[in-house]
Symmetry: C2
């Protein structure tokens, strides 16, 4: 069961942080400035002074997942911070006003019944661990920050996952997306 | 159709504001300090310095309403700020961790199929205008701030609406609720 307590997550792009930035690619809409490193804080915030940009949001309750899906996810998914998960991706996304004007049942139907978002993600568990951070209600530039962690040998699977999601009906409503790829050394080896 | 653009709403209890506070009642959980007036700002924020307390949140997309329900609501509901709406209520609510741990389909089933929240609210339209402000992702003390406006002759209907909602299954998950009653004079008469 996902922890439903809202917890602030802050991602600062700049000179500091555990994660080295391998690439920042604009997928659609306005890009983000290239930075050498990403610093991630859970439970507290960054100030902009020390960073080129800061993206913030909260982990929160699931918005679409059914009880049955939640049970399957809980059974197979892995946590963040596994020692072998030396690759990560931060993919900030904004959806269009047309998406947000849809009713709950219409958004659910596009997200899962048409696009199989939850089911596709599940195929890549436990290899690709994932955390969804909500930022729409916080008034940020993006609606979501999606964070992924995986071992280097699962990089091809991650590319496939991202490609499949971007081909869905749901993604027609994405009007801004930036794809930030990250890596870190093993603890003690850097 | 509700406007899905998130807009900050800020409610400051203190010495200033259009609305005179008639009563602040604790329904469950921790109360809020009694203040003489409430100042409401849309699109900007208050600082705490000039107020006893400030509650903030964003109007956002609907989380449970189906397309069909949304269509009915849009057809019959009235906007805020009607000249005859001289009474208002601000009812901040927090739901329990048990509620937020439920999956989307479980929360929807309790909210509407069991508790008839949307349907009950609809019975009081257009007399009782209503706006839901979300604050859970902002990390505030409450999860929602519900704002109601009505003409003095609809005060008994409003009491009935509030009583009926508090008797529902959904309300068993409410672990903090404060009920703030407000009034204002006609424009030009105060």
């Amino acid at each position: 069961m996902p922890d439903p307590t809202p917890t602030l997550h802050s991602f600062a792009g700049g000179e500091l942080g555990l994660w080295r930035v391998d690439a920042i690619a604009r997928v659609i809409g306005e890009p983000l400035t290239r930075v050498p490193r990403l610093d991630v804080r859970v439970g507290s915030s960054h100030t902009l002074q020390q960073s080129a940009w800061v993206l913030q949001g909260t982990s929160s309750n699931a918005r679409y997942t059914s009880a049955q899906e939640q049970e399957s996810l809980t059974r197979i998914q892995a946590g963040l911070g596994r020692p072998e998960a030396l690759r990560a991706a931060l993919i900030p996304i904004r959806k269009s006003p047309a998406w947000w004007a849809l009713a709950q049942d219409q958004r659910r139907a596009i997200l899962e019944e048409q696009s199989r978002h939850i089911r596709i993600g599940m195929e890549y568990l436990p290899a690709i661990a994932r955390k969804l951070i909500h930022c729409r209600d916080l008034g940020g530039e993006f609606d979501f920050l999606t964070w992924f962690e995986y071992a280097p040998e699962h990089a091809p699977a991650f590319e496939e996952l991202v490609r499949r999601l971007r081909e869905t009906k749901e993604w027609e409503y994405v009007d801004r997306e930036v794809d930030i790829r990250l890596c870190r050394g093993r603890v003690g080896s850097e």
